[in-house]
Structures are given as C-alpha cells and as structure tokens.
C-alpha cells in the first residue's frame, strides 16, 4: 500500500484514505470506500469553516477502526488552532464515522462543518484501467439523507449517507452549523451504507449482503482469534513482532464468501485482492495450517462447492477445475471481465488436493476427506483429461479468450515465462512447478484413496502415474549444461530455460531426484538467485532479469517460505534457516508486515529491502509466511497422532517456543534451540552467499 494511506477493512468492505481521513480518488488511485469490488465513495472530504485539516497523529486502533487527530489549516502553517478535530471511523459492513470538534478556547465558537461526498461507482478493475462508464448516475436528498446512485440496466448500486445530528444536506454532501462552548466539544455521527439493489415486482430489494457484524462483535472476534492462536516465545524480537503482526493481519483478511455458510477463508490482499482466489487462499491456508486449520477446512469446502462443472471458454472453466478468482463488480456483471468466477488457474486444482491431504494429516478430520471425495476425483480427472493440452503427460495452460489470463501460474504477469535470452515462451505453456504439484497431488491423493476412500486400485494407479511423471519430468526439464530445472517447456518440447525460483517449489513437491537436490540448492542459494534477503523470482543475468520486475527479479516472501519447506523436505535444514533468517530480517524493515514482494537488489548493495512500488499490503500469503517459516525452523511434521519436532534454527534465533499448536493431538508445544555447533562455520557460509551484512547486524545486536 502506498505510503501515508490509512486502511480499515472488514471482509470485502474497506476504506482507503489519506492521513487526514479524506478520500479524493484520482482515476488511477485506489482510495475510496469499497464493497463487493465496487467503489462506493470516491470523495469524502471534511472541512471546518471551509478549511481542510492537517494531521497531528493517527491511531490504527484495530484493522477495522482508525482515529485521526487533526487541526484546521494546511500542512505548511504553524499550528496555533483554538480547535482540534478527532475523526474516529470503523467498518463492519457499513461505514461509521464520528467527527468530534474540541474548542480549546475561552470563547464560544461558531463552526461550519462540511463533509463533501461523491461516488464514481468504479469497478475495482476500472481503477487499474480507466474505462468510460456505460450507466448513469443520480443523486437525491430525502429525509436528511444523501443518496448517490448508479444504474445500468438492472444493475444498481447506491451509497446512502446520513447523520444523527441536525444537519443540512444537498447533492454534494452534508453540513452542520454549530456553536461550541468554551472548552466544550461537539460530535457528529455519520453513517454510510452501501447497497446493491435488485428490481423485483415489489420494487427494489437489497442483494449481495453480508451479515452485519457490530464493532463490538468484531473486537470480541479478534480477541478470541488471538487467544486461540499458538503462543510464541523467542529471544528474537523481530520474530515476535512479525508473528503478532501476522496474526492480526490474517484476522483482518478473513473473508466470508456468500457461499461459505458463515465460515471464513483468507482473501488475497488489500487493496486489489479482497476476494476469493483459489491459489492465494490455498497457499495461505497451507502456511497457516499449524496455527489456524479452520481456514483450510473453509477454503476446501468453498472451492469444492464452486469447482468447475462445464466447459466455458470465456471463464476458462473445465469440469473439475478449481477456480482462480471471484468478483462481484460491474465488469463481472456485464461480462467485460470473466470473474464470475474465473477458472484460469493451472495450479489451484493440484494445490487443492495437496491442501486436502495436508489438512487431514494435521487435523485428523477424515469426515471432510470423505465428504470431498467426489470433488477430489473430479480434480484428479481434470489433471489427466483437461489440463494436458499437448498430450504428453504434463499440465499446460493457454487462455481461450483475450480476457483470460496469459499466465495461469503464480507468476501471472505477462512477461514472467521466458527463455534465458529473454524471449517469451509460446503457448501453450507448461511451467515446472505445475508438474511438481501434480506429482505431489497424486502421491497425496493415493494416500487418501487407500486410507479413506477404500479404493486401493486408484491409489496404485496414482502412484504409478506419479512415478512415471517424476521420471519423465527429470528427463525433460533438467537443463544439462546448467544443471538446474528449466522454468518450463514449450509445445515443441524445447526447454524454457531461464533460471528461476520456480524450481524451489519442486523441492517442496518431492519431484526432484535425490541426486540432483544438491545442485538445485546450490543454485537457489547461489549469488544469481539469493540476494541475502531471499531468493529472487528470476536469476541475475537472465535476459529479462530486473530487480524491480514483478516476477522477473523481485523477492516474494511467500515463494521463499515454500522453498524453505522444500529445503527441509530434502534435508537442507541449514539452508532453510538461511532463507528464514533473511526473510525475518527483511520483515524488521517493514514493521513486521512483509509485503507481497520487494526488490531483488543484493543485500550488500542496499542494506535494507526495497519495497516494490505497487505491492499489496497486507497480502495474505506474505502474512502467512512467518507462520510457515516457524514451521520450517521448528521442523514440525504431523506423524501419526503426534507432532514431530526437528528444530534447526538460524543464527539470529537462539530459542523458539511455540505453545498450544492445534492438531489431531489436541494441543501440543514445540521447542527449539540453536545447537551452537557449527556456528563458527556459519558466518563463512553467509559471506559465501553474498550476505556479509549479517555480520555487522549481529554485532549491532550484541552491543
């Protein structure tokens, strides 16, 4: 999120304002009040006697509540005001703001308070890419309320603004004329309601509504959520703060899809991605499994319910495919965008199967595995029947319409899938990690088939398929002259041979031949990929490498967390610790809130991680990253009915105690201490990996 912006949110309803609490949306800036992917307020400006205000301080009270302390006058003026203003706002479905004016003087004062309001009803997709609106606007004043509206055929959205105190209202806002006694104060209560309306025979009726949660209820929910989480004790203050921040941010990103029967799933991130995503919700649920397994259950059910059942070119839907993204805005409603829902994801289906197995391993919830057996079978069928566009046993993707996503893997920007020399790969595309996920999904589904579906024949077949895939993959994707796995292959069978972070996920999936693991790890932690903070998306020296390229050079914390998990799977505990350490160190510079991505400059060059310009924050899978790193540092693995712990802590963390980890064992604790042995070796390792700044930072800690 851009600097100086203040966010409050509740599910897919959120407000982004400047540091005065004002909203003045420029066409391309994501400020405003949003709900269901529509901007309901694009102007919300407070003036006192015609003057704008300037901020003294801001309290982020809760994720759904903020308070601004303000005085009249521009930012350049010397502050000598006889009055000050407090704006306190909260969001819980609707938006409430209290404006309090304090008179610090000995004389009564007369003030004119004005709130200017308007809405462009922009679809969230129109904010990134401005379009001419096709419908018409209206506004009217009735019973002291200001009603702003937008209508296009049967599509109708309204913002209704009201106040409890006596006021004047016109089509551009509300005004109050008040006298405040010496040392007295006055408060106005403003209320903004967002409506989606459906015309029926009996007139307009409300549609697209979330059950309203009160502010008090939200506070209680947050406290209960925090109380229910495992408690972390560690000597590393950054880790403590980052963990705490993550818990609150994850709570804030909880989203109740209309289809979820009240359960919450992680939405993907503020401000662009406050909705249900297949991939993001699954990755975040995986990261959070040792902490909040209820996310996994809700994510599996919601995505299972909305699983593809038919062929649809516009939505890239196939039977058995797990959705990519769901949006409720105008562009969805009029099929200008395909998110109703859109299914163009080549990994969400495999990842859904992986989550189903991992969830059962942690929780022992066999009922859900049995309940979702039909969806799991359909998902397996999608992999074999619909995803192999070329007919050579791999998962491929290609959008069927121009509105579809070019890249249907997690690196979904247009230029992410390239050869060493920078050329883009032709369609269809098969990236390596998609195949790794298939391998893992089939191995895991085999376990489920044998243990819960009473189908040993299916289990045998899946294991045979997986073994054959592993063999084929290690032949077709291994770049002999560079000794690493290609980013992908093209339909002519050529390797898309860029060196990228994608092969880190292969370790997590288990598709890497044991004999090749060390080479892969050397690449991942070598100077071309490892910056000292984390692993770059694309290696320095590749044709398209750019340290601030979205998927061609930046470092993604979530990517690193899954690579760290993979490193542990293959026994590279120390290397996993190096990743954990780099990312935790980086978190310190972001106040414990890891962004979606940061720049891929070498750590020795910048000394601090450089934030990527338009990165989302908080973003769900970055928020989940510290949780997965805690898992990898402690070496937590469910084993039958107990939790196995195999700690391997990096140098900057001497002690981790994680208490009350939920799972099939009830609740249990995990402890880790650095063993001390090998410490002498570690600084040398760091220098080798181009991260000498660790040493000076260590010295600072010691002082």
């Amino acid at each position: 999120m851009s600097d100086g912006m203040v966010n409050i949110l509740s599910g897919n309803t959120f407000v982004v304002s400047d540091n005065r609490g004002d909203i003045e949306a420029a066409p391309t800036s994501p400020t405003g009040m949003f709900a269901f992917d529509t901007r309901y307020l694009s102007t919300w400006v407070l003036t006192i006697n015609g003057q704008r205000l300037q901020p003294l301080s801001i309290d982020d009270l809760q994720y759904f509540e903020a308070r601004f302390f303000l005085v009249p006058g521009g930012a350049t003026q010397y502050v000598d005001s006889k009055l000050s203003v407090i704006r306190q706002r909260s969001i819980s479905g609707s938006f409430d703001e209290q404006v309090t004016i304090l008179n610090h003087g000995e004389e009564p004062i007369d003030v004119r308070v004005r709130i200017e309001a308007s809405s462009d009803f922009a679809d969230i997709f129109e904010i990134k890419d401005v379009l001419q609106k096709k419908g018409s606007y209206y506004s009217n004043v009735e019973d002291g309320q200001l009603r702003l509206g937008y209508e296009r055929g049967t599509f109708r959205r309204e913002t209704v603004i009201s106040a409890e105190e006596p006021h004047e209202v016109d089509e551009h806002g509300l005004g109050f004329t008040v006298r405040i006694d010496p040392l007295g104060e006055w408060t106005a209560h403003l209320h903004v309601e967002t409506l989606a309306l459906s015309p029926t025979a009996d007139g307009l009726r409300r549609t697209l509504q979330h059950p309203e949660r009160t502010k008090r209820r939200m506070s209680e929910d947050l406290e209960e959520w925090l109380r229910g989480m495992p408690r972390l004790y560690t000597d590393n203050d950054v880790l403590t703060g980052t963990y705490r921040r993550s818990l609150v941010d994850l709570a804030s990103l909880q989203y109740t899809p209309l289809t979820a029967e009240g359960a919450t799933v992680p939405s993907a991130g503020l401000p662009w991605f406050m909705t249900l995503f297949g991939r993001d919700s699954i990755f975040t649920s995986l990261q959070a499994l040792p902490f909040a397994p209820q996310f996994a259950a809700a994510t599996l059910k919601v995505l299972g319910l909305l699983q593809g059942t038919r062929l649809d070119d516009f939505r890239d839907e196939d039977p058995g495919r797990i959705l990519h993204e769901l949006r409720y805005g105008e562009t969805s409603a009029f099929e200008e965008q395909p998110h109703s829902p859109y299914y163009g994801s080549a990994d969400a289906t495999q990842l859904w199967l992986i989550l189903l197995d991992e969830y059962e391993r942690w929780t022992g919830d066999a009922d859900l595995v049995r309940e979702l057996e039909p969806q799991a079978r359909a998902a397996l069928n999608w992999i074999d029947e619909y995803a192999d566009l070329v007919g050579n046993g791999y998962v491929w993707y290609q959008p069927r319409r121009e509105t579809g996503l070019e890249n249907q893997c997690w690196k979904d920007s247009w230029d992410s899938i390239c050869y060493r020399d920078g050329r883009l790969a032709p369609f269809p595309r098969a990236t390596c990690e998609l195949q790794g996920y298939v391998y893992d999904a089939k191995m895991r589904a085999a376990r489920l088939a044998r243990s819960f579906w009473q189908d040993p024949a299916l289990a045998d077949r899946l294991e045979r398929d997986a073994a054959a895939l592993k063999e084929r993959f290690n032949r077709d994707f291994w770049v002999e002259d560079g000794e690493y796995y290609a980013l992908g292959i093209d339909p002519d069978g050529n390797q898309v041979d860029a060196l990228s972070s994608n092969m880190g996920h292969l370790l997590w999936s288990g598709i890497v031949d044991e004999s090749r693991a060390r080479k892969v790890v050397e690449h991942l932690l070598g100077p071309r990929l490892f910056t000292g903070w984390g692993i770059r998306t694309l290696a320095d020296g590749e044709g398209r490498y750019n340290p601030i390229g979205y998927h061609v050079g930046t470092v993604w914390p979530f990517d690193n967390s899954f690579i760290a998990w993979g490193l542990r799977r293959y026994g590279f505990a120390e290397e996993a610790g190096i990743i954990a350490e780099g990312i935790i160190d980086a978190a310190e510079f972001f106040g414990g809130r890891l962004p979606e991505a940061f720049a891929g400059y070498p750590r020795s060059l910048t000394k601090y991680p450089v934030q990527y310009p338009t990165a989302c924050s908080p973003q769900a899978w970055s928020t989940g990253t510290p949780m997965l790193l805690l898992r990898t540092m402690l070496g937590l693995e469910p084993h039958e009915d107990h939790l196995a712990v195999q700690p391997a802590l990096p140098v900057v963390v001497e002690r981790i105690e994680l208490l009350d980890i939920p799972g099939r064992w009830g609740k249990t604790d995990a402890f880790g201490r650095s063993r001390g042995e090998g410490t002498a070796r570690r600084p040398a390792l760091r220098v080798q990996y181009g991260a000498e700044t660790f040493i000076s930072r260590r010295q600072r800690f010691i002082r």
Binding site: G153, T154, F155, R156, A196, L197, S198, P199, T200, A201, R205, T207, L208, L258, T259, A260, E261, G304, L305, L306, Q307, T309, R310, L311, D312, D313, F314, R315, E317, D318, Y328, G329, S332, A333, F334, E335, S340, P341, E371, E373, P374, Q375, A378, E385, Y386, A387, D388, L389, V390, G391, R400
Partner: protein
C-alpha cells in the same frame, strides 16, 4: 405446446436423482419465476445429494430465487450465466446462498465451447 427450456432444465436436474458432489448438502430451494403476470414455482430438494424437483408446490425454501422466467429460459439454453444475472440484479436470492451456488453448478454451460480433450486428440493424431 412450445418448448419450455426452464421446465426442461428442471426436468433434467430431476433426472439426475443423485449428485455425488452434493452429498453433504441438504435443503430446499424454491424458484419463483415471473412471466405474463403469473409466477411459475419450482422446488428443488437436496437431501445428502439426492435430488428431487417438484413443480408448483407452495413451500418454504431455505433459499428462494426470484427472477423473470425469460432469464431462466436463457440460462437453460446456455445463453446466460446465472451468476452474472445475479450480479446484475436480474435474479434475487434470499436465504441460504450456498444452496443456489450448488444448484447453479448443474446449469448448462455455453454451447459449442472448446473441449481440450478433443483438441488434444486432434493434435496427437497430427503428430
């Protein structure tokens, strides 16, 4: 009698009798579809995946769907996506939303959609 796509859609759902993917769903969905100043009523009952459809019954639904029959005729012919009609306000849903989401998955997709299986077979035949 002219064909009635909506009626055919509900009949086809009724003929499915059991949908494995809905085996943990139970509930009643009522459709009130307006046309020519009258309302056609369909009731779909799901009981652990078993599906039954009845016409014209005056029953409470855990979920009630209101709309023009013309919209449902288009949905039944694969010319309209039900979610999109809902986002646009042409369909109103009250009550348990996940039930209509479950039924919506049984509606037909667009005609003549690309089938990756056929394309793959073609590609393999050529190579």
């Amino acid at each position: 009698m002219a064909t009635d796509p909506t009626a055919e859609l509900f009949e086809s759902i009724k003929r499915r009798k059991y949908v494995p993917a809905l085996r943990n769903q139970s509930g009643t969905i009522r459709f009130d579809l307006r046309h020519d100043s009258q309302v056609d009523r369909w009731v779909v009952e799901i009981r652990n995946g078993d599906i039954d459809v009845a016409r014209g019954q005056d029953r409470e639904g855990h979920c009630v769907v209101y709309g023009e029959k013309a919209v449902f005729d288009r949905i039944a012919r694969g010319e309209e996506n039900a979610n999109v009609a809902f986002f646009r306000g042409e369909i109103l849903v009250e009550g348990n939303f996940h039930l209509i989401s479950a039924i919506e998955r049984l509606f037909p997709g667009p005609r003549n959609a690309f089938d990756p299986r056929a394309a793959r077979a073609e590609r393999m035949r050529k190579s």
